[in-house]
């Protein structure tokens, strides 16, 4: 069967509709007659005209061109592609949450506010923070809010000279980008070969101007920052603050808490650690947590509990508003459902099982793929391409070949510390059978790379499209239907 290849616009036929409204009110008010001429639209918007079945069938067919967590294994490193439990979706479809206007008076939204507040409290317990704000829409925005808090705090202390943020060279790209958006100067420090912070290099850049450091722990190579307590002492010693990028928190669920390591500010990704769907790139949620002394700097509006009622508050030194309303409530709701489902006893297993899975893959593939770091990894393992690179088969080729076997490739070419990085994150939901199948496929590809390298270099063969011309797309951007008609 030829794969479906139509755009919704290509189904359009003048006069078709896919909706039905109530009968209009019988009044003399008539928009068409009363619309001032200077406000009238000139060129018609060319939206498709299609029936309801046209739309449903079209998007069903389009969806089949995607690989999701329920389609197959999705070991995308640093992304924590968990199973998104069905019960969470069911809870998020309850009318009593869905149809609540954000500007309803607090007395009529106590259920939503309670859910917000209780999630904040549980996240505080899980991370060892004093308070959380759920207002940020995604991890990157959580970072930005966290950095604003750092800046506001230092300024409020009269320390306006604290303008520098330390970022290890192994950090996610959002870290330096967020620091720049927040108006900080960035000091990049070299990492040890295993991506951990090089204490000597760190000491060299320490000064009174340091506002803070941004760390991911476990780091982007899946290695626990063993010197974290020393680092925290050093940074606090110059009056700086420690920022925790929660991208890799999954490894530590039930193991250890960032707050106990000395971190002052943290952002989480509910779409990673707390099972809310990634949705093809959002909506996510990036709550920000802080220690007690930073509580008054959290974004506005904050949700609090007072005399048995839940209320919105404006923290005394708030960095201000970062979202039009209160962030992605529907996402928070799903995360709340997840935490309550798992409860204490199961949350405490998450880190252990995900770390076991990663180390199992690590041990099973080290004969075929180059493993630069031998020690135990946390929730993800990073290989540096094939062990035998003589055939010229690259990490990209390996990833593309994996597509033919129906699995989503790991994250590739990140972290930048290695040239051929393959970053594999097998979450706690994945069974030994799934991992064994994956290991088998990777071994087979390694074998193919040796025996029939061209086969791997030209992959994939069985996907709806094959390798796409990205250079052409960037050189002459075609970004809308109108550009091709």
């Amino acid at each position: 069967m030829t794969p479906y290849d139509k755009l919704i616009f290509e189904l359009s036929k003048t006069g078709r509709v896919g909706y039905q409204l109530d009968k209009p009110l019988e009044t003399s008010f008539n928009l068409a007659d009363e619309l001032p001429i200077n406000l009238k639209r000139q060129a018609q918007a060319n939206l498709p005209e299609v029936s309801e079945l046209d739309v449903v069938r079209h998007y069903s067919n389009v969806s089949r061109k995607n690989h999701g967590v329920e389609t197959g294994f999705y070991p995308l490193g640093s992304c924590t592609m968990k199973y998104n439990p069905k019960i969470n979706e069911e809870m998020a479809s309850l009318d009593g949450f869905k149809h609540i206007h954000p500007l309803q008076p607090e007395q009529s939204t106590q259920g939503s506010l309670e859910l917000y507040y209780q999630t904040q409290e549980m996240l505080s317990e899980i991370t060892g923070m004093a308070a959380f704000s759920m207002n940020s829409f995604a991890g990157a925005q959580g970072e930005l809010a966290g950095l604003m808090i750092i800046k506001a705090y230092h300024e409020h202390q009269g320390n306006t000279h604290k303008t520098k943020i330390i970022v290890p060279d192994s950090a996610h790209g959002t870290n330096p980008a967020s620091a720049a958006v927040c108006g900080f100067d960035i000091i990049e420090v070299k990492s040890n070969p295993d991506g951990t912070v090089n204490l000597k290099a760190l000491k060299e850049v320490l000064s009174d101007e340091v506002a803070g450091i941004m760390l991911t722990n476990p780091n982007t190579l899946g290695i626990f920052e063993k010197d974290i307590l020393k680092i925290s002492k050093l940074i606090h010693g110059v009056g700086g603050l420690l920022y925790y990028d929660g991208a890799n928190l999954n490894a530590l669920l039930g193991v250890a808490r960032p707050g106990d390591m000395g971190f002052d500010i943290i952002h989480l990704n509910l779409h990673k650690t707390f099972s809310t769907p990634h949705g093809g790139g959002g909506p996510g949620s990036g709550p920000v947590g802080v220690v007690k002394k930073l509580k008054d700097y959290l974004p506005y509006p904050a949700v609090n509990q007072k005399r048995g009622k839940y209320v919105f508050e404006k923290p005394k030194h708030t960095i201000g508003r970062i979202s039009g309303y209160y962030g992605n409530f529907s996402v928070v709701l799903k995360a709340y459902s997840f935490i309550r489902s798992l409860g204490k006893e199961n949350l405490e297993q998450v880190g252990r099982l995900s770390v076991l899975n990663a180390n199992y893959i690590k041990a099973s593939l080290q004969d075929d793929y180059h493993l630069p770091i031998k020690k135990h990894c946390m929730h993800e393992v990073v290989f540096d391409g094939l062990k035998d690179k003589s055939s010229g088969v690259t990490t990209l080729d390996v990833a593309k070949r994996m597509l033919d076997f129906g699995i989503h490739p790991p994250t590739i070419y990140f972290p930048l510390v290695f040239h051929q990085a393959l970053m594999i994150e097998p979450v706690e939901n994945e069974s030994k059978e799934t991992l064994d199948e994956f290991i088998g496929i990777l071994k087979q590809i390694a074998k193919e790379a040796k025996e029939t390298p061209e086969l791997v270099k030209n992959a994939p063969y069985h996907t709806v499209v094959r390798r796409l011309d990205e250079v052409k797309a960037a050189r002459n951007p075609i970004v809308k239907y109108k550009d091709i008609v």
Partner: protein, 440 residues
Amino acid sequence: MFKYFPHTEKDIKDMLEVTKVDSIDALFNGLPTKLGYRYDYNLPRSMSENALRSHFKQLEKKNQPLITFRGGGIYDHYIPSAISEIVRREEFLTSYTPYQPEIAQGTLQYIFEFQSMICELTGMDVSNASMYDGATASAEAMFMATAITKRKKILISEALFDGVKEVIKTYAKYRQIEVIEVPSKEGHLALDLSHLEDIAGLIVQLPNKYGLIEDFSLIAQKIKENKGLMIINSDLQVHSLIKSPREMGADISIGHLQSLGMPMFFGGAHAGFLATTKEHIRKMPGRICGLTNDIDGKRGFVLTLQAREQHIRREKANSNICSNQSLMALWATIYLSLMGKQGLKEVNEQCYKNSHYLEEQLLKLESFKRVYQGFYIKEFVIETTLDRNKLETYLIKKGFLSGIMLEEKQLIFSVTERRTKEEIDQFVCEIARFEHDTLR
């Protein structure tokens, strides 16, 4: 074990053997001893599905669903049932950023369709794959304007929604951008045209926070003469009939997309959009999807112009934004497909009838007075001598959410196509009863 964990005891034993360690705990021996390797959370215990359902029912009951006459950026529009059914398909719901385009053509294609529809409605050349919301899209537009013009002052209309204004100010503060509010007169923008030479841009809203729709064409011209950027934040729903942002002279068109059939959901998840002219494409924040072909010449889609983004440019990126609100962009795309050319117009026509009917009925009451003369579609300001707080509480008891309180004595009501004549009449009847009881 637990339903989301497949590990049997035997699995764990076998896996540990391959891993060459005695216990899972041993995998954590790299952690400082002070931190240990087990943390005992003080959290409630696991809940079964049944227990969870009852728990959520309890929480749900603490919310009061109301028949809403409130807007302020979030509107109770009709939601076609096909949307949530499609959006919930696992291939859309459980996938991630389309970094492996061969197995993410589904996501990439709807983003392309989304961009196409945003461009149709706004008249702009290029749209990104969506933003977090309308407020952050406004802040990102401000960053674009300051980066393009290399100026550090931005004008914003006083008549932006409060949330939007506050987000712009938060983002500006940390970048040392000066934000100047332009006042309104009679509900319309009152801009002094004589001092625009060092302005990076002007951000206005359509309809503005008073519900009024005004033509910004002349102002846009003045801004451009001074080499600033015209930025229009609008409710796309109205542009099926109203001049497109491009037709009004926008360089950047932004807005919140909730009015395109998204549930109000206590303010999120929704999405925002950001579109601009070809000239500024490389200064845009966020993801952009482009059409290309594969090695067999077959049509396909990829994320393009990624050299603008944080994962390549790090601290030199246009923005720190990493994700979009992809699934909500899909939501908007399906809504626009179902409603099509005709549906959006009909929605506006019905909003117009309903809101003007409510205004007419309220003006018949003793304590209500018209405030502005301008043109509006679904939201209007009215003045009342009644105690607005008491009125609000009274109406909540009766199951209604009344208008937002603006300045002294003013209320702004929003009436969408979802409100029936019976609901509007009942609403007015309750207000009349309250008025009667108060004035007596």
